[in-house]
Symmetry: C2
Subunit: 297 residues, 2 copies
């Protein structure tokens, strides 16, 4: 199997840098899906979410090779929602998508290994292994330090998967700790320096590695600066679309070869409609096509 | 309902500061439980984990009022494991325990709200609300900043629950980012200062608030310093027992009134036996009793 970074490069070369985030909010689903879910119980709601996510993937497939399910919205539907998360990732891979599980996990030692195994190689029960989320990549939180990140790197390497480490997030209050200046540079630059080191031994044929970084599109100076600081690192760029970042804003995230970044849109592509709108499918297709075209320019 | 901090104070006054961590590692379960789980599939393994966790809670109940299920080990068993997490928390509350879901969640805006609702008030499907994890408290990661923490604080307040913010973790590599010095003090002290502020409006009758802090027992100087810096904040202290912290080490975590800290032991109390040992129940009881006695001195 090609490395994670090479699989991602192939997807971006084929369809451009758009990554579609799957954040299935119950109250935003098309009315038709919500109605088939009666009686309103998590099991039925989860089934409606599954149908919606699979349909979204069919609609966006011509325009993107990467999907990013957001674990929180599946978790909110409880165990039935998490069963659907597993199914959605399975279906996404069957459809040829590179899958990034956005779960922002972080813990230490064997606990981190448990999260990493859940994400990648699966659960060992005596002599057998059972896949859990089985995603191509996972987002992780660096606050706990070196030995909290290492189990994720080890598990990713073993299973040809990738991670994206939170470096500079896209929210307005991101700077509270990320921007604190230590030894002449902000905390997020210290994190970036470590990410570049962790990534260095994982460079694939495409010239980029399996240890990526999350860098928001809403902080333009930082985006350009972080592109330079981590030249071989894939950037996962949230904040485009609904959060305010434009296609021009994210240009700084690409390398000269056109690779190096995937740009996420969740609500902008998957919910460009009112729940009562019968034309929701056409609107999703159009939103994905427009985002692909904008980002490919 | 009393506030989270008052419920925690009541538990600590009754049974001391021991918190028992439920980290059900499949390979460490008593052989008898693993054998009843044949065929080895996640559904059966999850059922064995459920039986083990409930039995552990029965055994430790005389010695502790607080349990902390670790989400990662349930997640590793996939959706059946997460169904068991939900059941274990439910049973724990029926047995009178204060429950802390150790999931170290962190995300922004409505995504953080989804995690927080999953942890506390539950999932809204049209006009009905369904509980998901329904824990008394949740551990959260502060790296994403102010607006990433606020949804958790808001959801906790609304449902009379608590959060524990990671401040200084117990792992050897914790200092990589937490110890970076900014404006004369390390990052973790900046986090502690914010935690003290977030906590200030939540002080209950016991004199402590609903916004706690995770501070490892493996860094003694920091523990004493953080006790002083956050006088009204509950500390959740991991690192006692299997990770090397002693009862003498954690003394610095208590306030003069004897409250202010709960001290977690996971492996030390729940796995003090070899999987083949038929006496595992007696050993768990003895380990919990010993930990309670040591910590109460």
């Amino acid at each position: 199997m090609p490395t994670f970074s090479d699989r991602l490069a192939e997807a971006v070369r084929a369809k451009g840098p758009l990554c579609v985030g799957l954040d299935p909010r119950w109250e935003s689903l098309p009315k038709s899906h919500r109605e088939t879910a009666k009686p309103e119980e998590p099991e039925y709601a989860a089934r409606a979410v599954q149908q919606f996510c699979v349909r979204v993937m069919e609609l966006v497939q011509p325009f993107t090779g990467v999907v990013k399910p957001q674990a929180a919205f599946f978790e909110l539907l409880g165990p039935p929602g998490l069963q659907v998360l597993k199914i959605v990732i399975e279906r996404a891979k069957e459809m040829g998508f590179v899958t990034i599980l956005d779960a922002k996990r972080g813990d230490i030692a064997s606990t981190a290994t448990a999260y990493a195994d859940a994400a990648f190689s699966g659960c060992n029960i005596d002599s057998k292994t059972f896949p859990v989320w089985d995603a191509d990549a996972l987002t992780i939180n660096p606050y706990l330090g070196r030995d909290a990140v290492e189990p994720f790197l080890t598990a990713a390497k073993k299973a040809d998967r990738g991670v994206f480490v939170l470096v500079r997030t896209s929210n307005p209050g991101a700077g509270l700790f990320q921007d604190l200046v230590c030894n002449g540079k902000p905390v997020y630059r210290h994190v970036a320096a470590e990410v570049a080191k962790w990534n260095a031994s994982t460079i694939g044929a495409c010239g980029l590695g399996d240890v990526g970084a999350v860098v928001g599109a809403t902080h333009l100076k930082e985006l350009a600066e972080l592109r330079d600081a981590m030249p071989d690192v894939w950037l996962l760029v949230p904040g485009y679309g609904a959060q305010g970042g434009t296609a021009a804003d994210v240009k700084a995230a690409y390398r000269a070869d056109g690779l190096g970044a995937i740009v996420n849109s969740s609500r902008g592509v998957t919910f460009p409609f009112h729940p009562d709108d019968p034309d929701w499918e056409a609107k999703i297709g159009a939103a994905a096509q427009k985002a692909q075209a904008e980002l490919r320019q």
